[in-house]
Amino acid sequence: MNKTAVAVSLALLTVAGVAQAADQFIPIPSYRVGAYASGGAKFYGGMIDYLNYVNMKEGGVGGVKLTYEECETEYKNDRGVECYERLKAKNGGASAFNFMSTGITYATMDRAEKDKIPLMTMGFGRADAQDGRAFKYVFPLITSYWSQATAKVQFLGQRVGGMQNLKGKKIVNLYHGSAYGKETIPVLDAMAKKYGFELQHVEVPAPGTEQQSQWLEIRRARPDFVLLRSWGVMTPAALKSAQKVGFPRENIVANWWGGSEEDAIAAGDAAKGYIAGSFALDGRQFPVIQNIEKTVYGAGKGNLSDKGFIGTVNYNRGVVSGILMVEAIRAAQKKYGAKTLNGDQIRWGMENLNIDAKRQQELGVTDMFPQVKTSCQNHEGSGYTRFMQWDGKDWKPVSGWIKADTGVTLPLIKASVDKYSQEKSMKLRDCAAEK
């Protein structure tokens, strides 16, 4: 220990103590440097742009202005925890956190539960958190990994002309050698059993730049399809290796973290025809995106340094994240009144989201993401995934919204939740009693 540390900590004490006027505060734990910066900057740019848009267009939600503050996590768990602690009590208390990182979400889960602040895990980890009875403050909104995995198999079913035709087909699950990569193995195994296709798991050691031997193994196995569960550099590396061994790219189906422009462009020619899942469509054709461009960027208040990134996959995901956040605040305001709300009240709002077709029309997001209706028990609210194909320049939809196979996911979620509650020695919430 030393004088410097004490001086620094005392200085931080005073900084942390400063509070501002009563608004609705939304923490932005962004990552704009580090390995995942290119996605992070667009995602959080989109989210901030939407918050600014709501402020400029409607003067906030119900007259309550939205404020935000950024904190750089660098996609690292310890920095994420620091950001969580820094922002959680600021400006009247954080509404909800969206870290866009499974690791940070796990590390803040217990803290959030205690502080009663919801965590949005839109499109990523802990699939079993959709059971709101065990995970009161975690919201894997729209679609979880498990829902997506079942949608992938159903999409393949559509491609071969019906689920019954999957019988006897051979599918390889090429996954990132990490906790993230392994997360869908049990679901895919269950799907293989249900539909009688042959499933082979092939692991790519993290970070996934070297895949020569894996693709040789795939070539020997001669699968009909490859399900890609990739992350970061693994996606373009997989596509290039597939090109080398001559595996048709249109038979590769990746999950959504392999489905942004960064992933496809990096693979160049090899990416053409490649298919990936999606929970929020890209493009500028949606009225909400056009309005943001007009209102926010028109006033020179846009967050992106390059306007050209508006409408990219990660940007639109960020906008959707902003929309869900604001809609949750709206729902909570209906119950608790238009004032500064605390995290627990926002949690109620997130549990009572109802973004139906009519609301989507009003928001200008029809078809951008599936309809979302949450409840105390269902924190996912949708479970639909759509598939897109890279045509060398853009992502083009090649399917409708495919619903998760809940017959497969629900028993797995139940087993996982039981184990979790046992490990934690906790009691499940009684949703019927809460009204």
Binding site: A5, V6, S9, E183, K419, S425
Partner: protein, 354 residues
């Protein structure tokens, strides 16, 4: 003027071999400990305690572990994060598979497991030295990370591989508030730092330093090479293992192999290089520099977020951080601990340096 030992006489062997021989130092450390143990848990905000001080203390402990191995015994290691991971996973499995095991015992056993693994990967140090040894420990880093990801048993077959730490208590007191977590960490770190300080001053520390400075000469004067080197690996890994267990249980609340990747090993290595190789104090100074400086820069940066693009700010922070590391290494290649020592020397003769 104030920092002068004149008039303080040592009249016993005990006084002569005390850690802090000067009254001013004793006073300063006592005040620091009082601040850390009494004032901060009471007055510090949640953010200060669990966002800043806990990670700082835990990584200080890891740096301390690496400093024993690299700074004192002269064995360059790039596997500190792997040994942290062993500590974390072992502690988790002890608690999971032996219900009712006290947390402190589990952490201790976790440290012991890390020590065992450390000894195993320390064996090559008897044959290879310097950069080549660093490469051998790099193998430990990759191998251990792979084992924990590959074999489901370690994570209790959790579908995501990331497992949540069970609730903690020590002597019947639940460790669930930032203050209690902070006090637990601080107590462990303070005790282990004291132990490290004493080891460094004792015969074992001298044996390490002899090996570091010239191993052939050390062997000639009768220092057993095998035992001393492996002991350095064991003790160093024990420290790292305890730090890893604390990192997983107290800081993150999850046990995740990816939290202990190569990046973490480098981070710990940079801590001792910036702080001071072969110095207990340096471990703390280095950890403070590496952990706290980016946070301070980020906090400062947020003050300008209305005027400058956040994208630019985030990158500027990284540049400043890198620049400061280079600056300090040029100003004082022996680390911040040496700067502190120089400051003390200057203070001793102040205000009449001649």
């Amino acid at each position: 003027m104030f920092y002068r030992e004149s008039g303080q006489f040592k009249s016993s062997y005990a006084a002569d071999s005390a850690i802090l021989t000067i009254a001013q130092d004793r006073l300063f450390i006592a005040a620091l400990l009082a601040l850390a143990f009494v004032v901060l848990p009471g007055l510090g905000s949640d953010y200060l305690l669990s966002g800043i001080l806990i990670p700082f203390l835990i990584l200080s402990l890891a740096a301390l572990g690496l400093n024993i191995l690299t700074g004192y015994a002269g064995q360059l290691s790039l596997g500190s994060a792997a040994f942290m991971a062993v500590g974390a996973f072992a502690t988790y499995n002890f608690m999971l598979r032996m219900p009712g095991m006290p947390l402190l015992l589990a952490i201790f056993l976790g440290g012991l497991m890390a020590a065992l693994v450390g000894v195993a990967f320390g064996l090559p140090s008897l044959r290879i030295k310097g950069f080549y040894l660093a490469v051998a420990t790099l193998a430990a880093q990759f191998f251990i990370e792979w084992v924990f990801t590959k074999f489901g048993w370690f994570t209790n077959y959790s579908s995501s591989g990331v497992i949540s730490a069970p609730p903690m208590q020590v002597f019947g007191i639940a460790i669930d508030t930032p203050a209690s977590k902070y006090l637990l960490t601080l107590s462990i770190v303070a005790l282990m730092a004291l132990a490290a300080k004493n080891m460094a001053r004792a015969s074992i520390g001298r044996a390490w330093m002899a090996i570091r400075d010239m191993d052939v000469a050390a062997e000639v004067i009768g220092i057993p090479m095998l035992r001393t080197k492996l002991l350095a690996f064991a003790i160093s890994s024990f420290y790292c293992g305890v730090a890893g267990a604390l990192y997983a249980f107290v800081l993150l609340g999850t046990v995740d192999a990816q939290a202990f990747d190569l990046h973490r090993s480098f981070q710990v290595l940079f801590m001792i290089i910036v702080g001071g190789v072969g110095s207990i104090l340096g471990s703390f100074l280095g950890a403070a520099f590496i952990v706290l400086l980016p946070i301070c820069l980020n906090l400062l940066g947020q003050a300008f977020h209305d005027t400058i693009s956040t994208q630019f700010l985030a990158n500027l922070e990284m540049m400043l951080f890198g620049g400061l590391i280079i600056f300090f290494l040029i100003v004082e290649p022996h680390g911040l601990a040496r700067l502190w020592q120089i400051a003390k020397e200057k203070l001793r003769v102040w205000p009449f340096p001649h």
